[in-house]
Each structure stands twice: as structure tokens, then as C-alpha cells.
């Protein structure tokens, strides 16, 4: 099975998310970017599928901040091919635009399956995978936690709330939004990524020109102002622990001498 995994760069949520001067987007110029964690899950599921059933894995990324590192890391993990779609994307790419670029690029590729992260932290106008599938007019399944070969197509396990899972069969090509791979994404050492970098092997081609707009306008971006922010406990760990003990004790949740 030949599998394509689109990989998106997104801001590292652990960082303080500074806003641009207009207050309409995060400050993309200075923030740290990492691979979308769900795309990492999609890559892992793709590698597992390849190991079990043969075929190839191709990762493809739009030229976003630090995408090279993500693509080389995928090669080091076992992807066969990595493609960077070049262009001016520093100011952010909507899901509709991303999906349209991928759909146009996929038009020239041979593949059986696209695995993509189920969502990203900034997909304001919807999840890329499902938009892509419907542009390509192929079947789609969201929130997948497992994909296996099945009668010439695939079997997808789709997760609902409360841990209920339904299994669906898809014949022909499909785009699947991965929530979690069957196992945690594999680790790859920095030295192996460096080796991959030295080996080169990152294909570059200009991103297809597309007419696509999300139709949405961000008026402003802001940190939610909670009316009930936590009361922050002061002092070192011992002092904090003592206050927590007091609080849970007041509510009768710790019983001395019990």
C-alpha cells in the first residue's frame, strides 16, 4: 500500500503565545514551531501499516517554519520519500487552502491511502483531512485509532465518546484522520535525524497554485478571560502542599486518624 502523510507545522503550545500587532493571529515570526502532534500519530500508523503489509510512506509538507526538521525526522523514522512544497506560507495557511494545495499535488501522485492528523491546534476553518477527501471525492473517516488492509481496501477503527469504536470498511482510495496510532510514535535520535539530513533526499517542488479561501475573517484573537480563574497558591512546594491539605481537609476529604 502506498501511503501519503501530509505534515503540518504548528506553534508549540507550551510557549507563551504572543499575538501579532493587529491581534488577529499568533506572532508567527518569533514563535517556536513543531510538527502537529496528530500528524506524528498519522505518520506512526502509516509506518506500522507499511511494516505489516509492505508498500511505501511519503511525507509531504508545505514550506512552513522548520518543516525541514519534521520531514527529515520522518525519513529517519522510516518514511521512503519526503516532499517539501515550496512557496510563501510564513503568514499561515487555512485548512481550505492547505487541502486545495494537497489535492492539486496528489493529482500527480500514485497512492492508495492518505493518513493525516485528525485536527491541528489552529484549524479554525475545519480539519484539513476531511476537506481534502471531499475535494478528491474519496471516502473519509475521522478520529481513527487503527487502520488495516482489508479486502483490497482498508478497515478503519473509528472512535466515539466513552471509548465506543465502530469498524468501517472502505474500498478504493481513502483519506483517514488519525486520532492515535496503535502505538505511541517511535522515537528517533537526533543523530539519526542528522544522518538523514546529511543524506539529503528532501525533494522540493513548488506548491501548486490554487484558488481557495476559507471565507472566514478573524476579527481578533485573545486569551479567554475566565470569570473564575483558580486561586493561585503561593510559596514553595511544601507550603503549597500544606495549603492543599488544608483545603481538602476543610471539605472533609481527609480524615485524620482514620
Amino acid at each position: 500500500m502506498d501511503i501519503i502523510v501530509p505534515m503540518q507545522q504548528t506553534v508549540d503550545l507550551v510557549e507563551e503565545l504572543e499575538l501579532n500587532d493587529e491581534g488577529t493571529d499568533v506572532e508567527r515570526e518569533y514563535l517556536k514551531f513543531v510538527a502537529n502532534e496528530w500528524d506524528e500519530q498519522a505518520l506512526e500508523e502509516a509506518l506500522l501499516l507499511k511494516e505489516a503489509a509492505g508498500g511505501t510512506v511519503t511525507v509531504v509538507g508545505i514550506e512552513e517554519t522548520d518543516v525541514d526538521g519534521t520531514l527529515f525526522s520522518a525519513l529517519a523514522k522510516g518514511a521512503d520519500r519526503a516532499v517539501k512544497l515550496t512557496g510563501d506560507f510564513e503568514t499561515g495557511v487555512s485548512s481550505h487552502e492547505r487541502a486545495a494545495i494537497l489535492a492539486a499535488w496528489l493529482g500527480d501522485q500514485s497512492y492508495d491511502l492518505v493518513l493525516v492528523g485528525v485536527q491541528s491546534p489552529e484549524d479554525l476553518d475545519g480539519q484539513t483531512g476531511v476537506i481534502l477527501a471531499n475535494l478528491l471525492d474519496v471516502a473519509h473517516v475521522s478520529v481513527a485509532i487503527g487502520v488495516e488492509p482489508h479486502e483490497g481496501g482498508v478497515k478503519v477503527s473509528q472512535e466515539f465518546g466513552g471509548g465506543i469504536v465502530q469498524e468501517l470498511a472502505i474500498s478504493g482510495r481513502a483519506v483517514v484522520g488519525i486520532q492515535a496510532a496503535r502505538q505511541a510514535p517511535r522515537y528517533v535520535s537526533i543523530s539519526r535525524v542528522r544522518q538523514a539530513m546529511q543524506g539529503g533526499g528532501l525533494e522540493e517542488s513548488a506548491a501548486p497554485q490554487v484558488e481557495a479561501s476559507s471565507g472566514t475573517t478573524v476579527r481578533r484573537l485573545y486569551a479567554p478571560q475566565s470569570t473564575s480563574h483558580a486561586e493561585m497558591l503561593e510559596g514553595d512546594a511544601d507550603a503549597v502542599a500544606a495549603r492543599i491539605l488544608e483545603i481538602v481537609r476543610e471539605r472533609g476529604l481527609v480524615k485524620s486518624g482514620s
Binding site: 471516502a139 476559507s214 475566565s226 503549597v240 485524620s256
Partner: protein, 320 residues
């Protein structure tokens, strides 16, 4: 553009999800503003009864054997046909597994803008203005769409409405006889060693705990408190704790007397499972973590310092 507000009904063989009633609650207000009707879209196979009591003016009922289970393709095609025919002002879809498949698919097929992760929706003249929860709950976006729009809605955003007596209109399905997707099986979750929904004290660990070996630190605290350890999704995905211990959108909804969140950022999908806990105490080194917006008490001290200290003090208090 018409004035009606569409809502996708989510149901399991006729049992309507709570989220649908929340959407109908907001749809009613929007329909008053737009001067249109609240229209519930019910896709099913022999579950017409699900229309009873929906807080809608009209139910569009589409019945077909391919709609017995949730097949994403069948739902998207059906909704795209309904929306093309009726041109609603807005279409509200819950941000569930079903909704994630339908909202984006509908947006692509009907060529309508989508605002995802909505927690508020208003109409301002021809514009629809929504609040979208992004970046793991750390930032909100105020988003405007000119003209008809699709909104996918975060659970718990709106007050539910029930108790209507809608007119039911049967609509013939189209394009559902030749699908690439078919239903194979439904798998219930495995039985659990503990039922975290029944526990009064939960010590919940997130990715910040760093690895399986450190779960012990939380277990010791839980033991001292007479509670149970549960977790956020990355912890169960990583196999550090069983899946049955997962709290959140795709895990369990819990309502304990005490919920101690340790190294959990408080993403919307996690908050969906524990927002109703009576007392929430959060330990997280990131002062901007959204968990502090739902916690009653919080500390930014390192969890690896707080946990041992807290366990020791509670053990001492219990045996005093």
C-alpha cells in the same frame, strides 16, 4: 440565502445525543434573529421516533438503509443535498466524531465557510460571528463570515432545549446506493478494573508526568487520599495507564468531589470530561495553562516537588 437554522441530529439508533439538544437550544435564538425556522436534520434507518420532542419547527427526515450506522460518506452526501436544496442561513453541527466528519465534508461539498470549535454564535446583519476555541484552549478567535455558514460546536457551549412538537417532512435520499464505505462492527469498551465515574477522589495525570515510571508518584498520592488515578489522553495513548482511566471527550465524563489535575494543560477535549468536578486543584508549571480557568485552586510549582510533599503531608495527617 434563506433564513432557516439547520441542526444535524446525532443519535444512536434513535436515542438523541445531549449535544443535539444544545444545538437546538442555540438554533432557536438564532432563528428568532434571522426570522427563519429551526430545522432538525434527522438521518436514519427506521428511527423516525427520534424526531419526537425535538425543539425544532421542522424535522427533515431522510431514511435509507445506509443511514443505519454512521457512515461519514453517507452523512456528508445527504447533508450536502439538504443544504443545497434549502440554503439555510446557518448549519450547526456538534464537534463530535460524527460532526468532525460531517462539518468539514459539508463545507467542501457545499462550498460554504466553516467555523470550527465554536463556543458562541451570533448573527449580525448578514454576518455570522462566532467564537472559536483554538490552540488547545489557550486562545479564542472572534470570527466573522459574510453570508451562510457552517458551525461546529464544542460540547457544553449552549443550554439544551427540548419539548417541541415539530412537523416531520420526509425527504428522499439521493446518491446513497453506491458508497465506498460499509459498516463492519461496533465494539464496546473493555470492562474496567475500576469505574472512574463512580470515584469521589481522582488524581489525574497528564503528559507533564513525563513517563510511565512516574505514574507511581500519582498512585502514592491517590493511595494516601483513598482515591484512584486517572489520566488525560496522551497518558493512555502512551500505554502508561489503561484506556479505561481516560477522562475527556473520547474517555469518561467524571464528576468527583475532588479532581487533582497534575501536568494536564486543560485542552477543551479534556475539560469536556471533568468540567463538573466539585473541587479542582491543578498543578502545572505553565501559568497560562487553560486548566487554571476551570480549577478552583492552582500552583505553578513543579509537580515533581509538589507530589512527594503533598503525599507525605497527607499520610502524616491521616495517621495523626
Amino acid at each position: 440565502m434563506g433564513n432557516d437554522i439547520f441542526v444535524l441530529v446525532e443519535h444512536t439508533q434513535g436515542a438523541v445525543d445531549d449535544g443535539t439538544h444544545e444545538l437546538l437550544g442555540r438554533a432557536r435564538g438564532l432563528a428568532e434573529d434571522s426570522g427563519g425556522r429551526t430545522v432538525a436534520c434527522l438521518l436514519h434507518a427506521g428511527a423516525t421516533g427520534a424526531a419526537d420532542g425535538l425543539a425544532a419547527d421542522v424535522v427533515l427526515s431522510v431514511e435509507h438503509p445506509s443511514l443505519e450506522h454512521f457512515l461519514p460518506e453517507a452523512y456528508v452526501k445527504t447533508m450536502a443535498a439538504l443544504v443545497a436544496e434549502h440554503e439555510p442561513r446557518a448549519t450547526l453541527i456538534a464537534n463530535t466524531t460524527v460532526g468532525m466528519d460531517v462539518a468539514g465534508g459539508l463545507s467542501a461539498r457545499a462550498k460554504l465557510p466553516l467555523v470550527a470549535y465554536c463556543t458562541a454564535i451570533e448573527l449580525e446583519g448578514d454576518e455570522l460571528v462566532a467564537t472559536s476555541q483554538l490552540f488547545g484552549g489557550k486562545l479564542n478567535a472572534e470570527v466573522a463570515v459574510d453570508g451562510p455558514a457552517i458551525c461546529s460546536v464544542v460540547a457544553g457551549s449552549f443550554e439544551p432545549a427540548t419539548g417541541g412538537s415539530p412537523d416531520v417532512e420526509d425527504v428522499a435520499p439521493g446518491g446513497l446506493d453506491d458508497l465506498a464505505t460499509s459498516f463492519l462492527a461496533r465494539v464496546e469498551p473493555e470492562a474496567s478494573d475500576v469505574d472512574i465515574t463512580a470515584e469521589e477522589i481522582l488524581v489525574s495525570v497528564g503528559r507533564g508526568i513525563g513517563g510511565e515510571d512516574n505514574i507511581e508518584l500519582a498512585q502514592e498520592l491517590a493511595d494516601a487520599l483513598g482515591g484512584v488515578v486517572c489520566a488525560s489522553r496522551p497518558v493512555t495513548d502512551g500505554g502508561w495507564l489503561p484506556k479505561t482511566r481516560q477522562v475527556g471527550k473520547s474517555g469518561q465524563k467524571v464528576k468527583p468531589k475532588l479532581y487533582i489535575a497534575i501536568g494536564i494543560s486543560g485542552a477543551p477535549e479534556h475539560l469536556e470530561g471533568m468540567g463538573d468536578a466539585e473541587l479542582v486543584i491543578a498543578i502545572n508549571t505553565d501559568e497560562n495553562a487553560p486548566i487554571f480557568d476551570v480549577a478552583h485552586y492552582g500552583t505553578t510549582e513543579d509537580l515533581f516537588d509538589v507530589l512527594p510533599a503533598l503525599t507525605e503531608q497527607i499520610e502524616a495527617a491521616v495517621s495523626a
